[in-house]
Symmetry: C2
Subunit: 368 residues, 2 copies
């Protein structure tokens, strides 16, 4: 793996040359993991354009030994006091005046501390998304990890569906889901598991409560696992009991929207086009004079990788064009406050000439 | 509970008057939960100084229904496009030119978006830590919740210790710990559980791996639960087998340091004094000509509450003076790279005339 990290750092150094930056400050844990393998959650990484100089990681005493074990070819610098004054001091003492930073990964207060510590020794330049841009194009080794994470999530989804019996509580299902993930080797959940029974399924982000499952209820399960650092994210909606034709109709509409959006995923398509594919299908289904798209209150999906939400965003009007290596979720849904909601989500990888659905769980309407 | 939230908002309004701010922008989820009860993870809260105006929460379609259910007396504003341009537009359209923001809770990019959207309609003022300052002084209802979270963590620690048999893997123990938390009603772990066997215990932040427990090994378990929104955080170090007198000596030194630091916790003492109490004890224990404080590579503790790390920091030189309602961890440790480490951590509440240890698990040296 150390070759992988060193290779990525060399790619980034080439980008720094293009951007005419001497050094890049990396302040986001997923970015520094991607470039070095360091899994600690406090620190800052400095990449110099000059190949000889390589990389330096400033971190505190808790992480120094760990950083030494986890990285190769990275200089580990133990901070004395607070992090950002120490990073500023390190930058001021080094060579290379033009330093880039990601304005989306640094707070206003941290930025002030850096400016104060470096004074005129550093000219700061906004250089957002350089690492995020690399991370968007997954390498084969990353796609292999994401396939495994997606399959694991699918197995857990199927195990969770088998638990859905009237009387069970939402948090019992959530606890079992996260336990099953770990039993299968996941380091943890990629996000807090969503378990929503009945009318709570109308809340797109309903975290598990003590609510008990009753008969004739929608159930939304939205879960993801982290396996070997990579995230998966899957949603299925089940019905416990016998569904009305109205609920069946909603489910069909969402499934059709999801199928259309997955079909729209291809190298060269824009994220906005993928989002529109889902939205247009829902608009064609009517309820009380409105298109169902009115009840689709979020975007169609998001990038997935080391983080559960990363670039690209699959939302209305997004111009970013998909390219091989992108992995995104496709997750349209409809939500009727006080009644219930339906969402279906899969993880999709973009290849040169085909689209690969990583999650493998039946999407058929299922009554339990 | 809604009275609690409204009461806090009124307290904050009084602070805004003192700070001569017309409005305060709140961009941190734990802060907006504290003031409104909203548990969603995307949005921004605006508190106006004028009592009549109250509070407004800008959020996206995923969270609008949920925000309506969870809050009372808060105007919910659904954003059209991206969050910060929408927040800027909302602020520009409202009254009250002097708007405060927390520079530690806003990225440079978000700040730029706000400046762009508000133009000259808003004069921005850094007003960091207003809500964090309130959150540091726990109310009785919060202390009651934290006691329960701490007791729960203690029960889980004792259950985990019973699992420590040669052959078990670190991640199996971690999975069981998190499962036991949820079975006891926790909404989840407050942080990724640390399980470190043998020489891995020398890494203060060792996340669980596939490593199996062998006989004659140190075991560090560091876990915390979130119960009714409040966090706990506890560490115990066990020995599986028969410990050498050297290991016993280290354990005694850490326990003595922790005891001294807990004794130093009182209303009126500074956080730096508490940190020094632990460090001085370790300095009095020698190894190869050095004080053991050389192997204590992190700070003594941190504030605890809605978040697992919050104000105050209990670190070298911190001048913040403890006052009733503060809840902090006390967690000295020593770490010998390649050999092993020992840490003992408890959660402590500061009262007017006494100190309350919230976590209740034996700290005696325990061989399993």
């Amino acid at each position: 793996m150390n070759n992988v990290f060193a290779h990525r750092r060399r790619q980034l150094q080439a980008r720094l040359a293009e951007e005419k930056l001497d050094r890049l400050l990396i302040t986001h844990p997923a970015d520094w993991y991607y470039l070095t393998g360091f899994t600690g959650d406090s620190g800052a990484l400095v990449i110099s354009r000059e190949a000889g100089k390589g990389a330096a990681l400033v971190t505190d005493g808790r992480f120094v030994a760990q950083a030494g074990n986890e990285t190769n070819g990275v200089k580990i610098v133990q901070q004395g006091g607070a992090l950002y004054p120490a990073v500023g001091k390190f930058l001021a003492a080094g060579r290379g005046r033009r330093v880039g930073f990601d304005s989306g990964q640094l707070t206003v207060a941290q930025h002030s501390e850096l400016l104060h510590a470096t004074g005129k020794r550093v000219a700061w330049h906004r250089a957002s998304g350089l690492v995020a841009g690399m991370r968007m194009r997954k390498e084969p080794v990353e796609l292999a990890a994401m396939r495994r994470a997606a399959l694991l999530a699918g197995e857990v989804m199927e195990a969770a569906a088998r638990m859905l019996k009237p009387g069970i509580r939402e948090f019992e299902v959530a606890a079992e889901i996260e336990y099953q993930m770990k039993q299968r080797g996941a380091s943890g959940a990629a996000f807090e598991t969503i378990v929503a029974f009945g009318e709570r399924s109308a809340l797109p982000h309903a975290l598990a409560t003590g609510k008990r499952l009753r008969k004739n209820a929608l159930v939304v399960l939205d879960l993801g696992a982290i396996l070997a650092h990579y995230c998966s994210d899957i949603t299925r909606t089940y019905f416990v009991g016998r569904a009305s034709s109205r609920v069946r109709g909603w489910y069909r509409a969402v499934l059709e929207a999801q199928t259309a959006a997955i079909a729209a995923v291809k190298s060269g398509a824009s994220c906005g086009e993928v989002d529109a594919a889902a939205r247009n299908v829902l608009a064609g289904h009517r309820l009380d004079g409105y298109g169902l798209d009115r009840y689709f209150v979020h975007s169609t999906g998001h990038g997935l990788g080391l983080e559960v939400h990363e670039d690209p965003r699959v939302a209305r009007g997004q111009r970013k064009v998909l390219e091989p290596g992108n992995v995104i979720t496709i997750e349209p849904g409809v939500y009727f406050p006080g009644v219930g909601g339906i969402r279906i989500e899969d993880d999709v990888a973009v290849h040169e000439n085909r689209t690969e659905v990583l999650t493998r769980v039946s999407r058929d309407f299922t009554e339990i």
